[in-house]
Subunit: 425 residues, 2 copies
Amino acid sequence: VFKIPRGTRDFTPDEMQKRRYVEECMRNTFQKFGYKEIQTPTFETLELFTAKSGETIVNELYSFTDKSGRELALRPELTAPVMRFYVDKLQMEPKPLKLFYFGNCFRYDRPQKGRYREFWQMGCELIGSSNPEATSELIALAYHALKETGLKNIHLKIGNLNYLEQQIEKTVEGINLDDCWPGGAAVFKSDMFRLIDKEDYGGVQNQFTNVNVESGKTDEFMTFIDSGSTKQLERFIDKEELDPYKEIISYLKKFGVNQVEIGMTIARGLDYYKGIVFEIDAPVLGAEKQICGGGVYDMVKSFGGTDVPTAGFAIGFDRTILALETEKYQFPTSSIDAYIIPLYEELIPKAVEMLQNLRKNSVLADIDLLRRGIGKSLKYASSIDAKKAIIVGSKELESSSVTVRDMRSGEQRMIKIKDLQQVLK
Amino acid sequence: VFKIPRGTRDFTPDEMQKRRYVEECMRNTFQKFGYKEIQTPTFETLELFTAKSGETIVNELYSFTDKSGRELALRPELTAPVMRFYVDKLQMEPKPLKLFYFGNCFRYDRPQKGRYREFWQMGCELIGSSNPEATSELIALAYHALKETGLKNIHLKIGNLNYLEQQIEKTVEGINLDDCWPGGAAVFKSDMFRLIDKEDYGGVQNQFTNVNVESGKTDEFMTFIDSGSTKQLERFIDKEELDPYKEIISYLKKFGVNQVEIGMTIARGLDYYKGIVFEIDAPVLGAEKQICGGGVYDMVKSFGGTDVPTAGFAIGFDRTILALETEKYQFPTSSIDAYIIPLYEELIPKAVEMLQNLRKNSVLADIDLLRRGIGKSLKYASSIDAKKAIIVGSKELESSSVTVRDMRSGEQRMIKIKDLQQVLK
């Protein structure tokens, strides 16, 4: 017996029905916001991903070699491919470009609960505007896309990497990091970002102590990242710098987002995110609660394109499904309207005619294909949750009728074939 | 600038709209016939594909190695993965199982016009019934799935590998192939199948001549594969063997298929196809006209499962799109209902409120995110084919109104904001 590769999944009809439903919900919301779908290949050149994320990412990639010797990799995420597509072919399109994607990604790490080697992401990229209303619409879209799937409890947090960087700099002001931190100021900052991202606040305090920051200044920093309102941020951030952030938050309300938190602890890698960043959590998922992340970023220029404002987000599709299931969301189900059971072999052609007629008129109908007896066929009809069974017998056919059985009540009655469609609707 | 890998494609918003439309059409038809969607991983163990198609397939696969050293491959087709899934997890489900899939596949060969290294297939597998009405429903489904996309001209041909094999055997009756054909009778047959599949009828005649078949018998064989009706087949095939084939064809009419051809030249590989085979062509595509292939096959047992009748087909998704385009099919387009243009920066918040309200009420609306002047904004609205532009100015707002411009006629009128939704619908 052949095995499924480790860390990957097969999806049953029930699972696929849920997944297509959520996919459709999100696609509709993206389109409602004027975003248009694009698609890129499942693999890209390896250098595309190392250019974006550095050489260490190679260990987390599925890579292989082309016939011409070029190294390729299954995509670990979709922003780099979309930017490659943009720089290559879409730079001349009228701005802003509002693009979305839905695709599978691959990660070559140890499979864990809720983490798979093949997983799905939906996301949007906004190219060409960095106005507050534009960034706000993007964030609102992420929020609504998740809400529209039926998720009850999600938390949106908005951060700002510039503020965070500034406050780190302010905290270590006057300290020569080149002397006391291996790699100097840049590494100090990125180490700090990593600790904040891991929510390791003890580590944050230690790192400041290690370079002899006085405890008062460290406390001040901890107060900053703990800020719960723009009011509190005013203590740390200059007015003209804070205003655009406030504006984004105030537009969010107009875009129908009623809940938003200040998230100064959002410390996505500084490699290409700039300024505004945001995350959406589904608390029902516990430790692995983040289901969306995004922000303003800068990649086009380093990919060889003409500089242009860009922002985007990605939603973890598998975690979204898991969150809905954990919240016990009632996914819509589809059961067939009618299951046709011909009682004898000679009656099959007539039964197929009826079937074809019903299907043509958009009745969801099916037929016994195994020439089973009535008992087994009714059992099968019940197992697929058919609403009605249509029993085709010789006697009934003499009067151009069939027996229609309600599968829930068990009630049976004779119906003229010409009236079938109406009875089943 | 990073390049897209050779033989792969990026899809623009316009292309994706077409693709999702056709995908949705086919999915709806599959579901109408009682088929349910499943999904398998993008890669499988390499041995799954070599078990199905032999070692030579390795040259046509993208393969790579797992962290545990196991060889994996991007799937070149989806029947083997579906059968692996079935044997592994679905054997106990009530029969028949009617499954469909939509997925990307990979082929490691030289890219040519219309042939890509990543391509998409949709297909169905019927597990658990080999009754004529069941096989016929499957074939009818392939036909309808293609017709429902809007394709005008397709040709369905139905063949039978048993008949073909028999007739080859009859033609070489009395000849000891072990003596005169390298590899003997089995290789002789599969060589013959390959020639017929390539439509190399000169080669077919030569091969018979090479083993000293008398020309009368060769002519008789050529007459057989040329059969254009079941009537003509009666000369070659015994009644009790021909009857199920006839029955399938007669059921096809009841399933709403009005055109079907006898296709004794269909010679899909004998490896796992058995008996009934079928193909659907789109003649508009010329040499690369086949857009669907399928038949009755036998794979479950060799995959370690309990023997069960299986049949299925795969539709080439990319070729279907190409055929529709070549037939100049008018794909549905979606243009937005309203493009909102705030005349001054101070009016943006009010404009966003309007936007949010319209979207909430299912009006497809968008807004200028670049704070452009009215001229540029109208040009953009026209470039995205917006039906109406909504110009938000201070004067109009004083009377709770906006200017609505019909983008086709250029006609403008003042509309109360509260009436907007109605005017736009």
